[in-house]
């Protein structure tokens, strides 16, 4: 399956450089799915939302086609992957030699798998649900809702599933 990903960057008058070199890899402490190239999945709204919240009006958005396939560890749409991820965390917690107070966070688990176990996937997809306006009740007396506007991100560990030919700036318009 192909999707469109949106990559938000601070505007530093370097659009040509970015278009030529491709997306920027995040290797900072903020990399919540581990090191990689971060894209918003399909919904450009979240790319703008992030850009405005971080950079005011001084941001750029690039789009590109991204393949979601058997090389994608899909913690958004694949229940098996979600179940496996929980068991991986449980296994590490139970059988690793941790000291009191140490925390196994999501990016630490992912990086551990990548560095020491052999994580064969080339991308990871996951989401959160910040938008209360885009939910529809399932009805009945239970407070259960269908969530329709999750913020979905794709972290590309490598550029293998990214179409570099399609990578281009879409905001601002030049």
């Amino acid at each position: 399956m192909l999707t469109i990903g949106y990559h938000t960057l601070q505007d530093r008058d370097n659009v040509d450089d970015i278009e030529n070199s491709g997306p920027i890899k995040c290797t900072t402490k903020a990399a919540w799915l581990g090191h990689g190239y971060y894209f918003w999945d399909y919904n450009m709204h979240w790319a703008h939302n992030f850009g405005k919240s971080r950079y005011g009006e001084s941001y750029m958005i690039f789009e590109a086609e991204i393949a979601l396939n058997q090389e994608t560890y899909d913690l958004y749409g694949n229940v098996r992957h979600k179940m496996e991820f929980k068991e991986l965390w449980d296994e590490l917690k139970e059988n690793g030699y941790f000291e009191i107070g140490e925390e196994i966070t999501v990016p630490k688990l992912i990086e551990y798998l990548k560095r020491y176990i052999g994580f064969s996937y080339s991308s990871i997809r996951a989401a959160d649900t910040p938008d209360r306006e885009s939910r529809i009740s399932y009805g009945g007396k239970r407070d259960e809702y269908l969530i329709l506007n999750e913020r979905v991100q794709i972290c590309l560990i490598t550029k293998k599933n990214l179409s570099l030919q399609s990578f281009r700036v879409i905001y601002p318009e030049f």
Partner: protein, 81 residues
């Protein structure tokens, strides 16, 4: 559940000493990653989110990250999301 990835993790953990594990985990800690903890993460993945949960998530939004480019060879010309 027994998947190849789980099996590899189990085999690895059972084959290394405490000292080796501490060395590996110190390497991971040195990355300084500050993502959500597992409980926050699994809450965000839930497909049966209650209103109260969503309100919490508005505060603990996982994606409000500032991603600063430090990749070698691409200079420091951008922050990314």
């Amino acid at each position: 559940m027994n998947t190849p990835l789980l099996q590899k993790l189990r085999e690895h953990l059972s084959s290394i000493s405490k000292e080796q594990f501490r060395k590996e985990w110190t390497d991971i800690e040195s990355l300084g990653l500050e993502g959500p903890n597992y409980e926050e993460f699994i809450q965000a993945l839930s497909t049966s989110v209650k209103v109260t949960d969503i309100q919490i998530l508005n505060v603990k939004s996982l994606f409000n990250l500032e991603l600063v480019n430090v990749q070698a060879g691409e200079s420091s010309f951008a922050t990314a999301a």
